[in-house]
């Protein structure tokens, strides 16, 4: 489409404004974290920080138990991502490639499970975990997160496995590969984007999850970061600088994860799952 210079200018200007709006809360979180407590609670209008201090990070990291919350969150999140990927991959291959009795039933189970509103299931989940003696333990929470993310993982990975031309499998088999060889040499290497987009999804889900963490983990030392951060009022008083510093620290692993996978993400993170 032909556009004039003026049009292009206004479109760019609009783009910059929208970018600024979406950037602002992140910016504000970071700059508040870098201000001294006196500057934070000042009536002055201070969009741009005049000086930078790390005192808030020191106080946030020094809060009792912060590091154990961070470790708890990392353990639960990375553990559930790994389990969901392993179980999801195992299930995706037969669903995409093999023919067997009950396949349609499995597919429907996965599809319906994806739509399950997990917030509505916490009462029975609480009772199940209580009976299994997994309440108040990270293992119980990890299991729940695996269950949450597994249907999407299976569904997406199945889409990606189907996207690999079956002729490649056949060629490898002609060359003497067994099923395992095909999986290791053909399917797995070509599944890169699928594994990436599903692991982003699982990571974000588990890293963010709040309700079940709030319900399950009663002991303070078992809690994960979101639960702890949401109760900041008791932990910090009105120390907004400290809260913002803690939020930045909490956000960093998620941001790192996104940066690691950004190229895959922008080139169609949901394409395996979504056929418009």
């Amino acid at each position: 489409m032909r556009t004039t210079r003026a049009q292009r200018f206004w479109v760019s200007a609009l783009g910059l404004v929208v970018a600024a709006i979406f950037f602002f809360p992140t910016y504000w979180m970071l700059t508040t974290a870098l201000k001294t407590p006196g500057q934070v609670l000042s009536p002055a209008y201070d969009l741009v920080p005049l000086s930078v201090t790390l005192v808030n990070f020191a106080s946030a990291l020094g809060k009792a138990g912060f590091l154990s919350f961070l470790v708890n969150s990392l353990v639960v999140t990375l553990g559930s991502v790994a389990c969901a990927l392993a179980a999801g991959l195992l299930a995706a291959v037969p669903l995409a490639r093999m023919r067997f009795h009950g396949r349609r039933g499995f597919l429907l189970l996965v599809l319906v499970a994806q739509l399950a509103p997990l917030e509505a299931l916490f009462v029975p989940m609480y009772l199940i975990m209580r009976d299994a003696d997994l309440l108040n333990s990270l293992a119980g929470l990890l299991l729940v997160y695996v269950a949450f993310t597994l249907p999407f993982t299976v569904w997406t990975l199945r889409g990606f496995v189907k996207g690999i031309p079956v002729e490649l499998d056949e060629a490898a088999m002609v060359d003497g590969c067994g099923r395992w060889g095909v999986f290791r040499r053909i399917t797995l290497p070509l599944l890169g984007p699928g594994l990436v987009s599903t692991s982003v999804f699982s990571f974000v889900t588990a890293w963010n999850e709040f309700l079940y963490a709030l319900v399950f983990l009663r002991d303070v030392d078992k809690q994960t970061l979101p639960v702890w951060l949401s109760s900041f009022k008791t932990a910090f008083g009105t120390d907004w600088g400290g809260v913002m510093a803690a939020s930045v620290v909490y956000a960093i692993p998620a941001l790192v994860f996104f940066v690691l996978v950004r190229r895959r993400l922008l080139s169609g993170g949901v394409s395996g799952a979504v056929k418009g």
Binding site: V11, V40, F100, E119, A147, P151, F210, G268
Partner: protein
């Protein structure tokens, strides 16, 4: 993020030989064994709780029964209790209005952002994409605390800015004094977090529309609006339906933000259904009543999305 890739997503080309069954290699149990872990987890932690929640909703299950391990069937008592409770009805109305408003706003803004990205030059588009990814990646609770801070009564940047612009009445204005105002802030928060995903998804749909089609439309003398209607819209529509459907599912269940901001307050006036569920179940230990709320919540959700659910279950993606 120097080079945002806009490559076409991998496609399922429906090749003729694609679904040809491979000769079974003599191990009929293999697919079942491979499926077993996933199926066990889904049955134990999704299907079984779903059955359970229905069962519990017909039982009286408070702390006493729970500790004694009693099973007391009470029929529809829990439902009667909930359905005659005005709190439930106001929470339902609030949740439906909140969901409708937030979904409409996110889809509209997401579409705007998607279209905008397509028309931007590489530099500005990259900047926009960076800020969108930041908004998307920032964890919910972190964003919630930032919004609380921006909307803070005393030192929040919003009130400061409004006062600077001459709206002196916002000096010390509390954004969390009423339920409507609290939910508006929560809605903005959800909007900010949810738009990037929708924007990127729709943008991916737009860039995979062949350029020739736009050129053909231009040659035929179509205005940009006509080109959008005739070329972009048909390919966007199914994606729009999908993201709207997903947004309904997500926004209906928003709990974290509501709980973290005011626990459904002030005076329960920002209590949505998921918050009510939590209050009944965990805070009040009325598990039976909470289960009834959960079942009713599902009923509302299924009623709202019924048409699309049917479409989805019948879609060719579920084919054998």
């Amino acid at each position: 993020m120097a080079t945002p890739t806009t490559a076409a997503p991998p496609r399922d080309t429906p090749g003729a030989g694609r679904r040809r069954p491979r000769a079974a290699l003599g191990e009929p149990a293999v697919p079942y064994l491979m499926l077993a872990p996933a199926v066990v987890v889904m049955l134990a932690l999704l299907a079984w709780p779903a059955v359970q929640v229905l069962g519990i909703s017909f039982r009286k299950l408070d702390l006493g029964e729970l500790v004694r391990g009693e099973v007391v069937w009470v029929g529809f008592d829990n439902y009667a209790e909930i359905l005659t409770d005005p709190v439930f009805w106001s929470a339902t109305a609030r949740t439906v209005v909140f969901t409708a408003a937030v979904v409409a706003a996110t889809v509209a803004l997401g579409l705007g952002v998607g279209v905008l990205m397509r028309h931007l030059g590489a530099v500005v588009r990259t900047l926009l994409q960076i800020s969108l990814v930041l908004a998307w990646a920032t964890p919910i609770v972190a964003t919630t605390t930032v919004f609380q801070w921006m909307f803070d009564q005393e030192y929040g940047i919003l009130n400061k800015t409004l006062v600077l612009l001459g709206f002196d009445s916002f000096q010390g204005h509390s954004w969390f004094a009423t339920g409507a105002s609290t939910l508006t802030v929560i809605g903005l928060l959800v909007l900010w977090q949810a738009t990037p995903f929708i924007g990127f998804t729709l943008y991916a749909g737009l860039v995979t529309t062949p350029r020739d089609l736009y050129e053909a439309a231009a040659i035929d003398g179509a205005s940009p609006w006509q080109a959008f209607r005739a070329v972009s819209w048909p390919s966007l529509r199914p994606m729009l339906t999908l993201v709207a459907f997903l947004s309904v599912l997500w926004d209906f269940k928003v709990f974290t933000q509501v709980w973290a901001i005011r626990q459904g307050g002030p005076d329960g006036s920002s209590t949505t259904l998921p918050v009510l569920l939590y209050l009944k179940g965990i805070s009040g230990s009325h598990f039976g009543v909470a289960a009834a709320v959960a079942v009713l919540m599902l009923v509302v959700l299924v009623a709202v999305t019924w048409r699309y659910l049917r479409l989805l279950v019948r879609s060719p993606e579920t084919e054998l």
